[in-house]
Symmetry: C2
Subunit: 242 residues, 2 copies
């Protein structure tokens, strides 16, 4: 499995992904699942990937090739006129790779993958999309300002409760780490190191990229601190009146 | 879906289940998923059910019939010599019902169900089992002192962090409600009212049974209080040093 989250906030976009891939529990590897393309001063595009690793790597390799040598039929991510068109390019390519991987007439489920795509193109607002294996996609809005893909359930309760569109990047990083820590503590298929990427609205340049490892002092402080804070908060609630 | 949890503590056993069943999101009903059998002074047996409702209701009806009119080939839950043998009776029956429901040679997945079984028989310790659709089962121990079935992921992080075998029933009820509240807030397929059942070690009688509804004052206090407590705990953690 995998766990990826992207947040859409007033100050911009924040992305986080883990790096664990597994084919069963006895075949575990580390792969980066966060990719980005930029034309400084003009556009920034960030992609998070979950699902079949062969599928997602194929899509990213094809996107890379087309960004370097664009041709008419398949526009480059660096040339699309809008984030919507960028999502279409990624979605079409994803569907194409999945369809091409599955033997004719057989289920495509094993080759499935999904993406979170976010970024900004000059003249438009920052936008965030979730792209399905079928190639179609949905966009984040004020009511649903974040997307998760992969092993999403453990880390959702804290996002639902603590997300605030007015957060700073420092607060967003804290929220993402708490959400990931809850997941890592509950599920073997999500693992450190974690990759974090920020994009500041209207900067048209990639913001800070941070790799958080298991021995990172802040991560340890959040992980232990959150356990303690939960226990304290739990103790302070009134016991059931039996 | 469904969400059921049972905790094995020093003071005894605590059980909780939701009551929502669904066949798609447009066919939602309320059914109790908690069942019990007692021979006062001699044994108490509690069963929590998740999965295909036709399967779990069949198993419970058959267990009821056999408890009333036991016959040689299939021992009654009220006559088994140990909790282990009780788990075998339930497991064998579950496998039989599932196998009988699926058309010959076809997948049995759609008819699958699982149970948590807990209780105590005089002369033995309280024991807790999780029973799989295949009819086999595992027992809780000191390292894994609780079981969850159904929609287990949202409510697991708080159980992992706050469970303590030395808890009182009042604390256990609070923990269960927080775990259920996190699940209900994140997933439509788990819903109120909730059923709670306690069994005090060596009492050989069913303890308090409580039905928690959405307008229960304590539940509202826990639900709102936990949201506030999480937000406060989150704010008190240091922001990421960007």
């Amino acid at each position: 499995m995998t766990y990826c989250v992207a947040l859409s906030m007033d100050c911009g976009l924040a992305f986080m992904s883990d790096t664990r891939t597994n084919a069963g529990v006895d075949s575990i590897s580390t792969f980066k699942k966060m990719f980005s393309w930029t034309k400084p001063g003009e556009r920034v595009i960030v992609l998070l990937a979950a699902g079949n690793l062969a599928t997602t790597q194929s899509v990213v390799s094809l996107l890379d090739e087309r960004a370097k040598a664009p041709h008419d039929r398949s526009p480059s991510l660096l040339e699309t006129p809008s984030m919507y068109q960028t999502a279409r390019v990624v979605g079409d390519l994803l569907k194409e790779v999945i369809t091409g991987s599955a033997p004719a007439g057989q289920s495509q489920d094993a080759f499935g993958a999904s993406f979170i795509l976010g970024g900004q193109i000059r003249g438009t607002e920052p936008r965030l999309f979730m792209i399905y294996p079928e190639g179609n996609f949905v966009e984040a809005g004020a009511d649903t300002p974040f997307f998760q893909i992969g092993e999403i359930k453990y880390g959702k309760p804290i996002l639902v409760r603590a997300f605030d569109a007015g957060m700073s990047f420092a607060e967003a990083a804290k929220l993402l780490l708490v959400s990931f820590d809850s997941t890592v503590k509950s599920n073997l298929s999500v693992g450190l190191p974690l990759d974090m990427q920020f994009y500041e609205r209207d900067s048209f340049a990639l913001g800070k990229q941070i790799r958080v490892t298991a021995d990172d002092a802040y991560y340890r402080r959040i992980s232990d601190g959150w356990s303690d804070a939960l226990k304290t908060a739990f103790r302070q609630l009134p016991d059931f009146p039996l």
